[in-house]
Amino acid sequence: MAFKERLTRASEAKAWYGELPVESLYTVGIAGEKFFRTLKDEGKFLGTKCPKCDMVYVPPKIYCERCFERLEQYVEVADCGTLESFTCVHIGLDGKKLEEPIFVGLIRLDGASTCIVHKLGETKVEEVCFGMRVCAVLKPKAKREGSINDILYFKPSVK
């Protein structure tokens, strides 16, 4: 046996409590800065285009992750797109059950090759389906901070 001794009473088993204190301030980066500034000031979505792979990254990257080209061509994409997947999240960040579940979607904006992950709003479980058309609902301009949360949610587009 590996040990010559073992704990034999439940009262002997103790734990030491502590944490890994991490507070972070992240810069949004070169591409992120362009993306969020444009979203904040103009309410528009920017992506970067890789001419070689014919990909439009939204949010943008300064590189194509597939071919490693430096991407410098910023293109505007639509604020509406298609729902590629969705889920209804019942637990929060603390693992506890949420009072109100949160709708989350994977949205491919028109003109983009990639999808944005965001919340869905102004909709019901029964309505949501694959391929549904959705549009971004942004915070009022004055309240935007240059964050992914400048988008409040995506809602079904009325047509």
């Binding site: 890994l20 991490v22 972070s24 810069t27 070169i30 990257k61 590189y63 992750e65 490693f68 430096r70």
Partner: protein, 386 residues
């Protein structure tokens, strides 16, 4: 030693206190520059080896995964190695065994650190390297452990601070010629001795600055190396060793783990007389005394003798054994893992005669780079030659 492995390209970002780029973007910039330096493209790379130190700096759990797209790992075999401060040099060892195994022909080696993300000060992240139960409740900081080691070192050999400070003077001045350096102002021994006492005997200018940055190398097997460059730099020996966790049970005056790692690397490289068979050294210098400590561990001089070599000018660029001609961590900056890899990049440039103003006077054919890490515990050593 298995298949021969060569370094054929190198790239890096500037080392800065706070970078605007994300960690991914820093990785990309260094990798792109390394690939372009040897006119290779990502599709010619078989595997990617990443090195980066604690996740707490960047503030991302599974940091290796997070950085992978910037590191060019899309659709490729990719792994992150990690030995604390020793990571930078270890990542080259990681690249080496990828290729020496015969399984991988070309490997991109990248190291990144974005320490500035940690708030309020990156040093705070080091609290969590101590034992959670028996040490952390004492609220230690990283300086403690260096100060304790430095004091033990000085005490054992009766060393003077002014002699140790010469290392910082040399390295910070060497860094004036490094285009990527974070600190570019000359210092004197007086400046160092007058600088703020942080944790005696450690003063402000004895310490390397915290930095953001990334460095990348391209490694290939022999046949590819000969096709992409006429000046491959060969990895002749590698070694690493990790000592016991119980750092307070060891004599801190001598880094035995560095010696073990060096012995392994020298054996592989066929080196029997390191002092004469090695022409240039890049030992790890996060603190000035550390360079001395590590020169002794690397057996480039006897125990307690490194300060005298420094006083005698042997370790200057025009000396007999140029040491940290790059400017080291003290001068160029210390984005932990990236700083270690920068040392190997420096040897690559020096051995190829491409270091410009930093080029050492003597002809150099073989060099050693070394990094240190963990709780005064790990040594990683790479010997390269042409």
């Amino acid at each position: 030693m298995g298949n021969r492995v060569a370094i054929v390209g190198a790239g890096m970002t500037k080392f800065v206190r706070r970078a605007q780029e994300t960690g991914k973007e820093l990785c990309f910039e260094a990798a792109k520059m390394a690939l372009e330096s040897c006119e290779m493209t990502l599709d010619q790379i078989d595997a990617v080896a990443l090195g980066t130190a604690p996740d707490t700096f960047d503030g991302v759990h599974m940091k290796g995964e997070y950085l992978s797209d910037g590191a060019g790992a899309f659709g490729k075999p990719y792994m992150r190695s990690y030995v604390g401060g020793g990571t930078g040099v270890f990542s080259v060892i990681q690249g080496w065994y990828h290729i020496a195994s015969g399984i991988i022909d070309t490997c991109l080696v990248i190291c990144e650190e974005k320490m500035s993300s940690y708030q309020p000060h990156p040093q705070g992240a080091f609290l969590t390297i101590f034992d959670h139960t028996t040490e952390r409740p004492l609220k230690p900081n990283l300086l403690w452990i260096f100060a304790l080691e430095m004091n033990r070192y000085m005490n054992t050999y009766g060393l003077r601070k002014e002699d140790i400070a010469l290392v910082a003077v040399k390295n910070k001045n060497n860094a004036l010629d490094h285009p990527a350096a974070q600190i570019a102002s000359p210092v004197t021994v007086e400046d160092i001795l007058k600088s703020e006492v942080l944790a005696w005997p450690v003063q402000r200018l004895d310490v390397s600055p915290v930095s953001d940055g990334a460095v990348a190398l391209v490694l290939t097997n022999e046949s590819i190396a000969r096709r992409v460059t006429n000046k491959p730099v060969w990895i002749e020996g590698v070694g690493w060793a990790l000592d016991t966790t119980y750092w307070t049970n060891r004599d801190l005056c001598y880094p035995r783990y560095v010696e073990e790692a060096a012995r392994m690397a020298y054996k592989m490289a066929g080196i029997t007389d390191p002092r004469h068979q090695i022409h240039i050294a890049e030992p790890y210098d996060p603190f000035d005394y550390k360079e001395l400590h590590h020169m002794e561990g690397l057996m480039l001089c006897g125990r307690g003798e490194a300060p005298q070599l420094t006083v005698d000018g042997v370790t200057q660029r025009d000396g007999e054994l140029p040491t940290c001609p790059s400017g080291g961590l003290l001068g160029v900056g210390n984005p932990i893992a990236a700083a270690g890899l920068m040392k190997v990049a420096e040897l690559f440039w020096q051995l190829r005669g491409e270091a410009g103003k930093r080029q050492v006077s003597r002809k150099v054919r073989r060099g050693v780079a070394q990094a240190w890490g963990d709780l005064m515990q790990v040594g990683t050593v790479v010997v390269v030659g042409i």
